[in-house]
């Protein structure tokens, strides 16, 4: 991490808040992994462990009224956005109290109240939607940013190309956040892109772009604040490439044949939590006791989430066909 960070509110409160959020995501997902083995959670489970600084850092720059579009690796984004851990966990259980009433599962966490549009599991498929949300805001004169998260693997998809061009052509308020963790499942970036500098792709659409250390939450916050400020001013898109790393397997089915343990170990040394903890302690923002406290608070939240999910009811089977179409009553 660096000496100084402009435009980041360097207070104990804020540091504690960031630490709390990153640790909450980490512990929440460690618990999810356990629950997967215990077969409480099924389907696909994509862990964000190692990448927490990105969701947490970017969210600092977003307002409650902004829109968010994420991927199937979105637990961290959902929690950082403020979705209750209880509802997120209940969704993973497939319970009726889940954020999507159990219909979505881990890959489709959604919350209209948080303008968190989800949870999209087709790689690249969320980008056109984000462009459309921003188009609606621009046409309606809403001062709102749509933040779209996706991985570097998505950059090879045609929908990436079409979406960036539209956003730039129409000067739409979209913050594209490419979480470049080096791999798309087992495919390393250099095996999927002829040009591995993702920012250069963004620039080829006339979109301003910046790369940031995705293992440094303060650097990410800073970059995101810059980006959203430019977007709100210029009404054009901005592209952030967050250089990060996935510590765990792609999903629970991944044997990780494609990378060396050493490589993972190297990155773990630069993990977002360890780095931030060291930095906040060295710079006297937080103490070991503070961290102990945070861990306690987080443990309570995670346990409550599990308890809530365990006790939550199942959706009635008769309601299978509910939510396929919109009841006339609900028409706006």
């Amino acid at each position: 991490m660096r000496e100084a960070y402009d435009r980041v509110d360097l207070t104990t409160e804020h540091m504690r808040d960031l630490a709390h959020q990153m640790i909450l995501i980490r512990r929440f997902e460690e618990k999810c992994a356990e629950l997967y083995s215990a077969e409480k959670i099924r389907g696909f489970l994509h862990l964000y462990i190692g990448e927490e600084a990105n969701a947490v850092g970017v969210m600092q720059a977003l307002k409650p009224d902004d829109n968010i579009v994420a991927t199937y690796r979105e637990h961290g984004h959902a929690l950082a956005r403020g979705l209750p851990a209880t509802e997120v966990m209940a969704e993973m259980y497939g319970k009726a109290s889940g954020s999507s009433r159990g219909r979505g599962g881990s890959m489709h966490i959604c919350s209209a109240a948080h303008r968190f549009y989800g949870g999209f599991a087709i790689v690249g498929g969320g980008l056109p939607l984000a462009v459309g949300l921003a188009l609606a805001d621009k046409m309606r004169g809403n001062d709102r940013v749509t933040c779209c998260f996706f991985g570097e693997g998505a950059a090879a998809e045609g929908e990436f190309h079409e979406s960036l061009n539209l956003a730039a052509l129409w000067k739409l308020p979209v913050l594209f956040v490419c979480e470049n963790n080096g791999y798309a499942m087992g495919t390393a970036l250099e095996r999927s892109e002829s040009e591995t500098d993702i920012c250069r792709h963004a620039q080829s659409y006339q979109i301003p772009a910046a790369a940031v250390d995705g293992m440094d939450v303060l650097a990410v916050e800073e970059a995101a604040r810059d980006a959203t400020e430019k977007i709100r001013a210029s009404e054009g898109p901005f592209f952030l490439e967050n250089r990060t790393y996935r510590f765990r397997a792609h999903s629970m089915f991944d044997a990780e044949l494609y990378r060396a343990k050493e490589e993972v170990a190297e990155w773990e040394k630069r993990g977002p939590l360890v780095q931030f903890k060291r930095w906040t302690i060295e710079n006297d923002f937080l103490s070991d006791d503070d961290y102990a406290m945070i861990e306690q608070d987080v443990a309570v939240i995670v346990n409550d989430a599990v308890a809530f999910a365990e006790d939550a009811p199942w959706e009635a089977e008769e309601d299978l066909l509910k939510d396929v179409t919109t009841p006339a009553a609900a028409v706006l």
Partner: protein, 326 residues
């Protein structure tokens, strides 16, 4: 009454929608300066401006997805995909996003988008420009699929589709745009898109069809009528959800049915309808339900080969006669 073309009817419907609701806008390739590939939006750019008559790049997945996103964001977009052939490039957005969002979100989001596309063959445009993939779309829960076959439906269905809170796919058969017909001088135009329409009453056999095949079905019914065979002609109008009730009640009266569908025979919507009649009116049938569909080949360019591949009035007449064993 006044006489207008199907194309005029679509244009009037677009204008009316834009005037009635400022959340409505039209987007697609060449809808603006070019006036629309089929000239449906000619003149609208001058009236409503670039923002609401929005020309897009050649990016079917991108702009269709953007239309879906704009609907999520509170607008009422009308996305024009020039033809169903090009919609093969945006099926991910339509099927994986538009059709699933309401469900995946546990009922939190709706996607009130209308996606219009020209469909069908008959203009010698050959294998890549002549698909009829209506059954692909009719297969997908979460979508409504409509196919205006008359001038009045072309005039009225768009607004009904816009009032639907969920995604609606609207198929306009390319051979219908130049069709002329009489229509009331004034509205209301709204169409009941939950119900099929009986376009001709009859008692000997039921001909079930939709879209570009309706004129052929009516011509066949006319000829048969002159021979004393009375055919009821049902225009499905909405391909999803199907008005099964209407289909079954007609078959219960006529005891014979012929389905006319421009889709390739195997895997066609006609097959689905035949199966529904099997399930709902088997004991009413005096003869097996027959299908008149497109031959199992990509559509050839040569006029005589294209004609041979598509459902024809003669083929419909022959099919009805067979079911009547005449």
């Amino acid at each position: 009454m006044r006489r207008i073309t199907y194309r005029d009817a679509i244009r009037e419907a677009l204008r009316e929608a834009m005037q009635k609701d400022e959340r409505v806008f039209l987007m697609g390739e060449d809808v603006g300066r070019y006036g629309g590939a089929y000239a449906c939006s000619k003149g609208l750019l001058d009236e409503f401006g670039e923002e609401r008559i929005r020309d897009t790049p050649l990016s079917e997945s991108g702009f269709t997805g953007a239309g879906i996103g704009a609907a999520l964001g509170g607008m009422r977009p009308i996305v024009e995909v020039m033809t169903v052939n090009f919609s093969l490039l945006c099926l991910d957005q339509i099927v994986n996003n538009a059709a699933t969002l309401r469900h995946m979100s546990g009922g939190q989001f709706s996607v009130p988008v209308v996606i219009r596309m020209a469909t069908g063959a008959g203009r010698q445009l050959a294998a890549q420009h002549s698909h009829s993939l209506e059954n692909w779309y009719a297969h997908v829960p979460g979508l409504r699929v409509v196919a205006p076959a008359t001038i009045a439906d072309a005039r009225g269905m768009l607004w009904s589709a816009l009032e639907d809170p969920d995604p609606v796919i609207m198929f306009e058969h390319a051979t219908l745009y130049n069709e002329e017909g009489d229509i009331a001088a004034e509205g209301p135009w709204a169409v009941d898109i939950d119900r099929a329409a009986v376009r001709r009453e009859g008692k000997d056999a039921t001909i079930i069809t939709y879209g570009g095949s309706l004129p052929k079905a009516l011509a066949a019914a006319q000829t048969l009528g002159e021979e004393g065979v009375s055919c009821e002609v049902i225009d499905l109008r909405t391909l999803r959800p199907l008005d099964t009730e209407r289909i079954l009640s007609s078959v219960a009266n006529t005891h014979r049915a012929v389905i006319v569908d421009e889709g390739w025979r195997t895997g066609s919507l006609a097959g689905e309808i035949s199966a529904q009649i099997m399930e709902g009116a088997f004991f009413e049938l005096d003869a097996p339900v027959a299908r008149v569909c497109t031959a199992e080949t990509p559509i050839p360019y040569a006029r005589h080969l294209e004609a041979a591949a598509l459902p024809s009035v003669d083929a419909i007449i022959a099919a009805v006669r067979r079911t009547l064993r005449r």
